[in-house]
Point group: C2
Chain length 242, copies 2
Amino acid sequence: MIRLFVRDDLEAGMAVTPTREQSHYLGHVMRVNVGDRLRLFNGRDGEWEARVETVGKRDMTLLAEMRTRTQTVGPDLDLLVALVKRTRMDVIAEKAAELGARRLRPVITERSIADRTNVERLTAIAIEAAEQCLRVEFPRVLEPERLERVLANWDSGRRLMFCDEAGDAPPAAEALAAAGGTSWALLIGPEGGFTPAERARIREMPNAVPVSLGPRILRADTAAISALTLWQATLGDWRSGE
Amino acid sequence: MIRLFVRDDLEAGMAVTPTREQSHYLGHVMRVNVGDRLRLFNGRDGEWEARVETVGKRDMTLLAEMRTRTQTVGPDLDLLVALVKRTRMDVIAEKAAELGARRLRPVITERSIADRTNVERLTAIAIEAAEQCLRVEFPRVLEPERLERVLANWDSGRRLMFCDEAGDAPPAAEALAAAGGTSWALLIGPEGGFTPAERARIREMPNAVPVSLGPRILRADTAAISALTLWQATLGDWRSGE
């Protein structure tokens, strides 16, 4: 079943106009016709079954008919990741959606190779991944911010899983289980790691939980996926009964 | 420090000739000169510090001087993955190396989109990842085999973590901890999943340990990374004292 993210509100009988790109995809790639059914979500109103109402040359109309899933909100989990090169940022946006992060916050560190990123492109990637992995919500991608500013404005109720390559931190699964709690952020460094000063600054944070991700050096995208996985398995919605 | 995988034996005083591509990389990209030092490994003799002995237009000679790490063998962990499209297979080969799998075995399933893959390319990707993540060994990539043949010849001492999308399996971390053991394989299905007949056949295996990887549908590469991560954290070398 085709699933599409739309901007419009969704309620019974509501007409929805997909974007030009979506209409092209539906009409010319998937070859849908009047009367065909698909699923829609907008991140606010759950998931709806919709019927194709009209098909034009360049656009089409869909009619929302029945809610198939209520809106849910995933765990309160932010992924903070130092800006890395574009292809790896793209992977991270996709995986943040698949693995249930609520927000993706790019951070600028001393060894980051860039100080900006295309937030719209990353958002589009996260939405496409959410369409495919059956989520009814998707990670919000924030504008990049400098690490020191992020730490200076830190929310005192949010724990910070610090993936520390320096090696003396306890294994991530153990450290997370010991720390507990429900509001978290995971912090992944750039290729080349944090500087000693950054590392000291992060470890000073009262909410910091330094963790190790094993004996091998991981690329930033791998570290992000492993950290999200261990968080979901230990404190998130991958546990029994969640 | 530059790290290179070489085919030659490594011992003190042994001259090593990098491939043309490696010589080009060293000479023209990294601009090394006579006397510069780098690290070498071949998957058999540990890691060695070597000195650049001669630099020619197209090739160069390195001299192994001192062993810097002994050869280690990682956990006895195979990654079995249904053939998926090329870009995702490439990612899986890279991540198998970073996350410490010993062998990568592509398997052909009913819904696989291909029945072959480029084993040499995947091997080269795994070696490059091992160079960067400081491993002294790297995953062997096997020729693709049909799933039924793989299961028919199954080693009775090896447990099989079956990542089952159908949803009634217990969470992976719990199932792995309960199963224990040291020889394992992780089995990841194709996009679209296993057929009901394949799923029944896998679940019949006496060594099968069906597990769930959370409530969202994961792409094959994400599932592979998450499964490797949870295995390493629960039974492998990411634990305390390993």
